[in-house]
């Protein structure tokens, strides 16, 4: 089914090594994979399998020691800090386990943040942020600060912030890890809706139940792809 979309992510023989004391640790050892537009992929693996390292590379927060990474037709494995910042700003929406909202800023301002760095004019920024909050059903909480919101609402603000730049890749790192399971289901339902609306989603998790919501599950072990399975589409959870 992935054949229909054009590739968003193409990585070939990706290595990431760290100098640790005397030894060299290879967190990723030759990972290759392609993720196409509008795929919903879960990356799984036990701790130490390299999934965080892979996420950092996919998110352009880090650069590989070896190998090629092409994001949306652009070779990003050789870019400098400023260019990577631009790519993160335009192409990638991050959703973190701990939300990472600015505590003193309103939901609206938090969502606006990426647009500030893309130098968008204020009026347009406001409108786009409002639209993103509307997409996660938080229009009525726009002027609340994070400490006035529930955990699920905070994560929805974070998702709105990830969506506001209309990125080509939504990258979620254990997005339900800090939420109780009922709220977690709610967030996963939101991801499924975003997927149906055409977004490309990569979700990193160690939880099989969470991964089960995705279309395709990639399992990493010891820095290598252990399995890469497309699964039959589950019936969408009622929103």
């Amino acid at each position: 089914m992935g054949e229909n979309g054009s590739p968003v992510i193409e990585i070939q023989d990706l290595w990431r090594s760290y100098e640790m004391a005397a030894a060299e640790v290879h967190a990723l050892q030759g990972v290759s994979l392609t993720i196409r537009k509008n795929e919903y992929v879960a990356i799984m693996g036990p701790s130490g399998s390299g999934k965080s390292t892979l996420m950092n590379l996919l998110g352009c927060l880090d650069t590989p020691s070896r190998g090629r990474y092409v994001l949306n037709g652009r070779l990003v494995s050789a870019l400098d800090d400023d260019e990577l910042a631009l790519i993160r700003n335009l192409e990638i929406g991050f959703v973190f386990q701990t939300f990472n909202l600015l505590p003193r800023a309103t939901a609206l301002h938090n969502v606006e943040l990426p647009l500030i760095y893309s130098r968008m004019r204020k009026a347009e920024r406001r409108e786009r942020a409002r639209e993103a909050l509307r997409a996660v059903d938080l229009e009525d909480r726009m002027l609340h600060r994070p400490n006035e919101l529930s955990g699920g609402q905070r994560q929805r603000v974070a998702i709105a912030r990830a969506l506001v730049t209309r990125p080509s890749l939504l990258l979620a790192d254990e997005p339900t890890g800090n939420l109780d399971s009922a709220v977690g289901v709610e967030i996963l339902a939101l991801f499924e809706r975003l997927h149906r609306e055409g977004n490309t989603i990569v979700l990193i998790t160690h939880d099989r139940d969470v991964a089960a919501h995705a279309q395709r599950i990639i399992v990493l072990r010891d820095g290598r792809v252990e399995s890469d399975v497309e699964q039959a589409r589950k019936e969408p959870v009622a929103p």
């Binding site: 910042a85 003193r104 943040l113």
Partner: protein, 407 residues
């Protein structure tokens, strides 16, 4: 990120922690307050001195035995070298100077005055020629000035200051009454308008009598001060040169010998004074500078703490597209805003101090317009200088590490 956005963020984090911000800024506040207050006081002193210390109006200079001497060694030399000036010196000047409009002479001595049991100590007894009262000038509150004919004929008359009038004649009009000066009774013919005091010294505690009478009562030894009013104030320097030439010839000085007399001018007094206050000012700036450096180090310290506390925020900003230079700018703006707020508070406190001094003392303490601007610029520079290191640290943070940091 726009500048305004940065300032908004900076003010936000400043207000979020008011006590810490205040303590952080204390050094800068004290430093800026001190420097602006010192500027205010010195500025006030200068105005006060320019207004009051120099009695002479424009276009007047005074020749005295010593002139303005500001160091001890110079003074010792002058004591040996300079002869007392005589009335004859003044007469010579009056006759030969072409640029002088008026030449007057005055001798001073200090004496106690007693009348009906009331004693005033240390009254300035001035022996004058009639021109003095016009050159300086004295305004008349009642009666008249001493005339040239009274000086010529040694008539026992007196022109008295307001303090003397008040103390000796608290209930009656002093005009036409007699006071005892030295061992002579003299008749009061005029009272001077009150001139106020300078640094607590009254300028109304005087009696002027004809110089001829003064010499009879107190002897001819005291040196005469010669006041010269220049006909054309723009030719003041020429007139002083002319006077110098006349006196040197009269004193038979060799061409390479230094003057054996000195000049006093309003500008001279003021510039001597300003030299003095400039030194005070420099010392103050140095001391305050130390306080500002300490203040800057405190700002740097708090910015470093802030960078560590806000690692996650920095990580997040980087993740959503902030470039290192955006982060650096944000923290630089924060540090500049922080120290500028300190500067504004310092300037305000100094303004309040200056206002208090101005209102409750005779000193017209006020700072010139450049003082707050300079203070503000200094604070801004402190912010930039001491913010560079923390801002660079923040910009260099690895986003992955930063995002992983404990909240």
């Amino acid at each position: 990120m726009s500048l305004l956005e940065g300032i908004r963020i900076a003010l936000g984090s400043l207000i979020a922690n008011p006590l810490r911000s205040f303590l952080t800024l204390l050094g800068i506040i004290i430093g800026i307050t001190a420097i602006v207050a010192v500027i205010s006081v010195i500025n006030g002193l200068n105005l006060y001195v320019a207004d009051k210390l120099s009695n002479q109006g424009p276009g007047v200079f005074v020749i005295t035995r010593f002139g303005l001497i500001s160091n001890h060694e110079e003074f010792l030399k002058a004591i040996r070298r300079n002869k007392r000036l005589r009335l004859a010196d003044a007469n010579e000047l009056r006759e030969r100077s072409e640029l002088a409009a008026a030449v007057g002479s005055e001798v001073h001595s200090t004496d106690n005055l007693t009348l009906r049991g009331e004693t005033i100590k240390n009254v300035d007894i001035g022996g004058i020629t009639a021109e003095i009262l016009q050159i300086e000038p004295y305004e008349v509150d009642g009666g008249r000035l001493i005339t040239a004919s009274e000086v010529e004929h040694t008539v026992p008359v007196a022109f008295i200051g307001a303090d003397v009038a008040d103390r000796l004649f608290p209930a009656v009009d002093p005009l036409g009454r007699q006071i005892r000066v030295g061992n002579r009774n003299v008749t009061v013919v005029g009272i001077a308008k009150r001139r106020g005091s300078v640094f607590g010294f009254s300028r109304d505690n005087f009696v002027k009598i004809p110089i001829s009478l003064h010499q009879r009562l107190y002897g001819v030894r005291p040196s005469v001060n010669i006041s010269v009013k220049v006909a054309d104030p723009s030719r003041m320097a020429d007139c002083m040169d002319e006077a110098r030439l006349i006196l040197r010839m009269r004193h038979h000085l060799k061409y390479d010998a230094p003057d054996d007399f000195g000049f006093l001018t309003a500008e001279g007094v003021n510039s001597l004074w300003e030299n003095l206050t400039r030194i005070i000012f420099r010392v103050a700036v140095f001391v305050v500078g130390i306080s500002l450096v300490v203040g800057g180090i405190v700002v740097m310290n708090i910015m470093l703490v802030s960078v560590i506390e806000r690692r996650r925020e920095i990580g997040l900003r980087k993740a959503v597209g902030a470039r290192p230079r955006d982060i650096r700018l944000q923290f630089l703006i924060e540090s500049v805003v922080l120290s500028s707020v300190g500067g504004v508070i310092g300037i305000s406190v100094a303004w309040l101090l200056a206002w208090t001094i101005r209102t409750y003392s005779p000193l017209p303490a006020d700072y010139p317009a450049w003082a707050p601007i300079l203070a503000f610029l200094v604070c801004g520079s402190i912010g930039v200088f001491f913010g560079l290191n923390p801002a660079a640290k923040a910009a260099r943070l690895d986003p992955i590490e930063a995002l992983r940091a404990d909240a």
